[in-house]
């Protein structure tokens, strides 16, 4: 009995039918949390005494950066599961995470720039964290490009899973080398990692926003996987029934 759920999870049909209900409430949950937190941040969070109101971008920048980083690990781990246990669903989730993760990395870079301009006077600094995020974006784009290069779905999945795993092993090395590179060149800018003492009233909305982003990620990912399931299982009877039911 114990492992039954694991095998079930490998069945695209089971997943499709089970998530029908989840999607709706997960979407509403994400919407309510994020919309509520934005209202909270915009209306009630006091401005930072150093950075002023641009600090409000922080509440988007941190969650997007987190999704960017976490997405890569999620992608690589699903890729590994797909490679090792040949689980169809893991392959699909890897394929669906890649473009989303790339988009979040891009958004993290954009919000970082928009935060930096009013705060430090420049959109772009080659500091350790920004550079690492940029490289993460390149890693994502490599996986996306590899996925799209192959007509053969199975090969595309396995190759990009391998690449994602190699990337995951490399991320700590890249991070270390970029940090070292940064100390070597000592850019003449303000240290971005300086800890500003954050009051609780400024910190709580951040945590709530992170939860909201996690819900959003889960919601969007499940929706994307559901489409991917339909596309890959279009020959099966149960998908044909779904198509027939859409008779309008």
């Amino acid at each position: 009995m114990g492992w039954q759920w694991f095998h079930r999870l490998g069945s695209p049909r089971w997943f499709y039918q089970k998530t029908e209900a989840w999607v709706r409430w997960l979407g509403w949950l994400a919407f309510l949390i994020i919309a509520g937190t934005i209202f909270w941040v915009m209306a009630f969070v006091p401005k930072d005494y150093l950075q002023g109101h641009s600090f409000r971008i922080f509440y988007l920048h941190v969650p997007t950066s987190m999704m960017a980083m976490g997405g890569y690990y999620a992608m690589a781990i699903s890729g590994a599961i797909g490679l090792i246990w040949r689980m169809k669903l893991a392959d699909m989730s890897m394929r669906c995470i890649a473009p989303m993760g790339a988009a979040f990395t891009f958004l993290a870079l954009v919000t970082g720039g928009l935060w930096g301009k009013p705060t430090w006077g420049t959109y772009w600094v080659w500091d350790g964290r920004t550079t690492s995020t940029l490289i993460l974006f390149f890693l994502y784009m490599g996986v996306v490009a590899l996925q799209n290069a192959y007509q053969n779905q199975q090969m595309a999945d396995r190759f990009s899973a391998l690449l994602a795993l190699v990337g995951m092993v490399n991320i700590p090395i890249i991070k270390w080398s970029v940090d070292w590179w940064n100390t070597l060149h000592q850019p003449a800018t303000i240290k971005l990692t300086e800890e500003s003492t954050m009051h609780g009233s400024m910190l709580y909305p951040l945590f709530v926003m992170m939860v909201g982003f996690y819900c959003f990620f889960a919601w969007a990912l499940i929706k994307a996987i559901r489409i991917e399931i339909l596309r890959r299982e279009y020959r099966t009877d149960w998908v044909k029934q779904i198509i027939a039911a859409e008779n309008k």
């Binding site: 979407g27 209306a43 009630f44 002023g52 988007l60 954009v110 969007a220 929706k223 489409i227 044909k240």
Partner: protein, 66 residues
């Protein structure tokens, strides 16, 4: 908790930082909406495409019968 702005225009301008704040919120929200609702659009497209393929298959089958 205290409301931080005196007026709606103060909320928009945020002492000169408003443009950066609102643009980043807009960009992130547009990105999220895109990824959240793209599947809905893809589903419609998928159904349409499959219907067309099924129709073609039926037509070919009929022609073969005749």
């Amino acid at each position: 908790m205290k409301f931080q702005f005196d007026s709606f225009s103060a909320l928009l301008s945020m002492e000169g930082h408003g443009m950066y704040v609102w643009i980043s919120y807009a960009i992130v929200l547009i990105g999220m909406l895109y990824f959240g609702f793209r599947p809905n659009w893809q589903f419609k497209q998928f159904v349409k495409q499959q219907k067309r393929i099924q129709l073609q298959e039926q037509q070919i089958a009929q022609r073969n019968k005749q």
